[in-house]
Symmetry: D2
Subunit: 313 residues, 4 copies
């Protein structure tokens, strides 16, 4: 029986490509069934219900920023945890039905974000074409694939070409060639994979009453234990302008002593802390630990404390 994974669809999205890459990397691609979900929320709910073992969703993009839907869906509702992250370059292609040439292209379908990221190329190579909005780049490709449709080409992920039987008229047409998207594979709460030494831990932090310096206090809980943050986002709680929660990624693994102690500190001072998982970093970068924060140094200090508490000096 195959293992089912949900992803933000429709078929042919960058997210599907990220899920395929992740399963290939872990050797799970053979026995897995990939199911497209219409929204991030739907993909996560499939996991919450047990209909899927995991869900791949986009978390942030180096051009557009965070994906609010993902941050908010993970912050509220039944708890889920991130078990893996995948980072992919954003490579846009101009896809058309076989037989269409670049000079034939008059009407281009794509998602507004993709249009924004290919504006330079379009101005140079298709100055006369009209760009029409689709709900996703994959939906645009699907619409182009429909022979009864009214579009000549779509801007979409390479995968969409394969999925919908389209031909690439041009590759790498994004203006920012270093653009990339970070995706996360989300599962039901479970013990994390063992620490690799190059891990991240994701958290949702809710400050209770808004008091001056609360964010500084939070950052100090990390800093005093030598933990660097790789991402911090403020999101509205829905309670009114000025009422925020924070979504953060910290270097390190929950099983490491410094991370555990920082979590205890956050739990003590925040109105709420939601743990969103510890997982290996996609880039494999190991933190540069300053003196005194390694597990060995924590263990030595704890042994010393036990000794002096017992009066053994």
């Amino acid at each position: 029986m195959s293992t089912r994974y949900a992803y933000l669809g429709p078929r042919g999205t960058f997210t599907e490509a990220a899920l395929q890459a992740a399963l290939r990397a872990s050797g799970e691609d053979a026995g897995s069934e990939l199911v497209a979900s219409p929204t991030v929320g739907a993909a996560l709910d499939a996991v919450r219900r047990g209909d899927a073992r995991g869900a791949m969703v986009p978390l942030e993009n180096s051009v557009e920023g965070s994906v609010s839907a993902t941050l908010d869906e993970l912050a509220f509702g039944a708890p889920l945890v991130i078990v893996r992250e995948t980072q992919l370059p954003v490579t846009f292609e101009l896809l058309a039905r076989p037989g269409t040439e670049l000079t034939d292209v008059r009407r281009v379908a794509t998602h507004p974000h993709a249009e924004a990221q290919c504006r330079g190329w379009l101005a140079e190579h298709l100055p006369g074409a009209r760009v029409l909005p689709a709900s996703s780049t994959a939906a645009a490709a699907a619409a182009v694939a429909d022979p009864a449709g009214t579009y000549d080409a779509a801007i979409a992920a390479p995968l969409a070409g394969a999925v919908y039987g389209l031909r690439s008229l041009a590759s790498g047409i994004g203006d920012n060639t270093s653009a990339e998207t970070r995706f996360v594979l989300v599962a039901r709460p479970c013990e994390p994979a063992p620490a690799t030494g190059a891990d991240k831990t994701s958290l949702v932090l809710v400050i209770g009453q808004d008091h001056p310096g609360a964010l500084l206090e939070i950052l100090t809980e990390f800093a005093v234990r030598g933990i660097n943050l790789t991402r911090i986002e403020s999101r509205p709680t829905g309670g009114g302008i000025g009422d925020y929660f924070f979504s953060v990624d910290a270097e390190g693994h929950i099983d490491e002593a410094r991370v555990g102690e920082a979590l205890i500190g956050l739990h003590r001072i925040c109105a709420d802390v939601r743990y969103l998982g510890s997982y290996p970093r996609a880039d494999g970068a190991r933190p540069q630990l300053r003196r005194g924060v390694s597990d060995v140094e924590y263990a030595q200090a704890q042994a010393w404390l036990a000794r002096i508490r017992d009066g053994r000096a």
Copy 2:
């Protein structure tokens, strides 16, 4: 000759309502011409070119969060400053052509964000209706107003009903009745209005090389001078995952000593600081200053320093 102001259109948006309210409040509504712009960027560029004296754009919403386009457009390109802020409750109405009754409504047009915020009401009162996406709530209202169109009703701002000659079938249909949006009126760099004692100062802060603790350093520059932040957003610089700038609102006015000293501190440690204006708070809330940070205390300390530097003990 009338003074021209741009706003994020089309006609009938919440943003137009905010602009009208702001001009009414300052008594400028009589002689002003309001011009709808298709995008935030277009509205700001009208100001940059001198085609408009100011532009009203949305900055953040208590449900959806920050408006990325506004944060990014203000952070890059020719400098602009915020001269006023306006905060409005988000009140959705179901608008239809005269003659349409609630029981006739089958097809509802609106922007996806508005749909998300009225999901509860729709499920209860229009369980059988189909909701179709429009590029804005005002565009939805315009489409409904078109007798040749295929929509029965639009979810939009009350102003859109007046603009497009529609009738309200239901008011206050948002699920979160405390939802509000914060808009800012943006102008070319100019001397700020005098400090009122209840002001905000907006900034864009770019940390140079990403080093651990850089955000903590930034917050400390504010905290050591007793300045509270009311908003902090991280946004990608476009340089890759993990490369951010910060958009912040701080309590206080650039002409106040503690704010000036904090700005000097930020300028010294950040790779770049962009000043986005000092302006009165929409809510009129005055900061609770701790001992030692008022202008009077700064002036006394400066006089003392001058004395001892001169050897007068």
Copy 3:
């Protein structure tokens, strides 16, 4: 068999009075033998050797400051711990042999510190007397008691009058009537008395290489756990000007979670930490704990961490 306690002598010092008061308070005065030691170091060495169960020594005086000999003797050599603290007002008396009247007093013996603290009274009441230095106030009293001696009176503690058979010519002759001295009872390393909720913990902290901000780091380890310091002294290590260690008293007991965690933090970042004991405060003052630092809140946070580490969310 009696229990032996050492104190900084000779007989009749303020330190002996402090030891008597402490033993009376704990009901141990009956079965105890009090032994005068010539120096702080000698008193502590008697404990180290096992010749005394404890030693009472002065730690600080509200006029003269810290007693360097005590700080240094506790920081180096075989470890000892403070098990009790006693705070006594400094009450000076003018003591003479029976038969001597105030008008007879020409030559007054006392310790230079005592002379400094009674200067006002001496100028007013004994303007013509000559004050001669003794090695301690008790030694001055002993010299006065010697009928073959050349002194008419001594400035010393009330106890010295009783010890040496002298009569008080004037009481409370110190210029600063609120002067007080803090004494500590020191023992060999042992389990501390249980936490009372109003305790102090004393420490010696050695910063390794002198790096800017090291003291700030140390204070942050306390502050982040809501622990206030009641005393901090820098003392030379003997390695050269600019090379210091710190002697500190912190609010709280080593068995309290926040104190234990702070000690672990100090152990991780300092070149050396020496624990000098947890003991009830003489003034019984309880710390004002901020939110999140009580043992209950620590226990809740630890239970939460254990749950999420196990994948139980």
Copy 4:
């Protein structure tokens, strides 16, 4: 007419040697008259009254620690400023009248601190000698010089040998050969010598109501401007146990922007700040400035602030 300088006497002290060295270094030794004062307070009062242009007093010793009398005398009374610092190795000699040989020495006079620092040498070379206390090492030398006296030798500074016509029986007899004392030359308030780039600034800081974290706040005022402290001492205010002021030396000169801003910050948050002078460091060590705290960077930031305050972006 000669310029008069006071010093902590009597003649032949280490302090006199420090004053001679300082005046020689500045070429003022020819026209200066050096006057011994019996106490630190008397030396400083000579300056306060205008009887001396300056006073040389000891501030701290690498073995004994701070000289409390100096810290307290500078903190209270009419303000004075440090204009120069001198650091000298502590070199003890065994001095005797001509004709005395080491084997003749039975009774040695010296100050108790000096005895403590030569204990090892004495045990090895003069195991049978008796050491008797004098009020200073110079007073000991003077007593030995008196042929009617009862001492065979004195432990004192080399200068004392020259002053009192004694001969050195042994040199460098201190146990800690790296021991050194730091002296300061104090004057009436005056403009400081220009910044050299390797300066210190001395301060007395009084925290008003004792509140948790007050010392952390003070250190943060320095740290946020990249200023390192080279010394921090707590001293009792005389108001009771637990009531302290701080005596600190900071790297930098009052005319430097970062130091001026830190002083303004301290003045705003402390109950009292007393400036004790900016002067060149004896060791000539220049601070390692982190990014953003040089005078050039301050000037650039101030020019930028002036521009944006004027609306010039």
